[in-house]
Symmetry: C2
Subunit: 319 residues, 2 copies
Amino acid sequence: MKKHVVGIDIGGTKLATVVADTAGNILNKVRKPTLAERGPEYARQLLFDMVHETIELAGLERTAISAIGVSCGGPLDTKTGIVYSPPNLPGWDALPLKSQLESEFEIPVTIENDANASALAEYRFGGGRGYNAVLYMTMSTGIGGGIVLDGQVYHGANDSAGEVGHQILLPDGPLCGCGKRGCLEALCSGPAIARRAQAAVRNEKASATTLLDLAGGHIESVRSEHVLEAARQGDALALRLVEETAYYMGWGIANLVNILNPDIVLLGTIAIAAGDLLLNPIRKTVSEFAMTRPAEAVKIAPAQLGEALGDLAAVALVV
Amino acid sequence: MKKHVVGIDIGGTKLATVVADTAGNILNKVRKPTLAERGPEYARQLLFDMVHETIELAGLERTAISAIGVSCGGPLDTKTGIVYSPPNLPGWDALPLKSQLESEFEIPVTIENDANASALAEYRFGGGRGYNAVLYMTMSTGIGGGIVLDGQVYHGANDSAGEVGHQILLPDGPLCGCGKRGCLEALCSGPAIARRAQAAVRNEKASATTLLDLAGGHIESVRSEHVLEAARQGDALALRLVEETAYYMGWGIANLVNILNPDIVLLGTIAIAAGDLLLNPIRKTVSEFAMTRPAEAVKIAPAQLGEALGDLAAVALVV
């Protein structure tokens, strides 16, 4: 029996390939910048080289690899393995990545969007272990989501399920990257928190000294990290921004709790960095806004895999 | 092989028992008022008598029945078969209905909340046939929902999934029966449409003659049926109320489309009565508010089973 797999994590800024054993232990890793501006042909060739290199570094033959898992920004079709114009990968239009990889390596390939793959990794190796209904939500440059039910990624009709960041809360709210207004993502992603913070600093300069100091004195440099840092120092304006973020996140999660009745909601990136400072007011809003029974059933916790998530996301698809 | 099943439909105003064959053909039916005010012991004894009577009417022995399906207002626990205080069944507190029925009839019993059972019936016999991801939404005195994935009711962590009517759209909006504000149900259920219509008539008496006439001249008698009827006659105020209803429904459904990526959303009761008058503006709002890929994948259609839904809901659980 073949005991090793390859994982490929494709991001807008970096590519990573790993070899892992079937228990999910990463044996080695190759990491290179994507240089997305050079287009898909460059990235494809680079990926091929990296996969060959990773297998070689592991001291294995290609024939010892049972499967390749690919975690990539969507939209993409998991059945055909075609990638459709991810926002962070310009030029990847209808790219048949699965068949290209299978031709090159003669190894079966499973491809999944990164949020779904991350959700599966948390289910297999992280905070979702042992739960039947797991909702994972990123909270970084965007708000993505993945739903794992009974150990399987839930894909929906055309691999678009789990777009939890694009539920609309305020139809007249701030513009979202998706073109609509007032999506959860437009209120609570890292850049959205920064935008709200910058507006608050502009409007309330007198109470914004801590935030401004942390951002080197430049309003336009205020980021979500500064908001968390200032809130930890007890800064009133920053604490209000955190409360506001928790209110919108809690509202959105309450809706998801009513609809999906998950056992656990795992929140990534910003929520991990913020910890209970953000999670506690989120939990409070969820318990106020969701129905009693599903609210009692759900745990809201930080995702657990941290830095290892990207690699394990790809690996989780094939172990 | 046993070729017949019993279905029990428990509502706040009526009880119905049917015998059906395993293809879902109803052979006969007994129907009685629930008289909910007499409490669960009365209803339980009445149900037992009705089941015996239905089986006898079908000319069958009890031993010829393979299973009993029960569709009942929730919350309830599908594993233990215990019913927990449905709003329309006062006194049904922790009622062990499944075990009571199994003791009496020595036939396996499956119990499910009515929205989930209805969703399954639409999947088996109605508008959801052939689809992998089916979302059914009632639109009557409340807005309930059921999710059927790959032919199975999706229950979530504790049988609370599919509370789609309690996603909150307007946290400062009208009070909902659940105690929160601005749930989809508080905006678009029959009583909610009536409330909005009555307020509009009160505020705009001059343009409300059609609605008032249909309601016999009494503002407090205006109901959702009158709104639909007046809209069909081209009445401007009623058309605005329908548009408003479609806007909130479309917004809520768009969120569900982004999260669940269903193949089809089937809308019951009011949506069936209204048809394209309501469904077309709902479809328009969904296509504006949902992400392109899931919006392209989803059909939004009236539920198909109409009057037969309650009986088939119970039967669908066991065929």
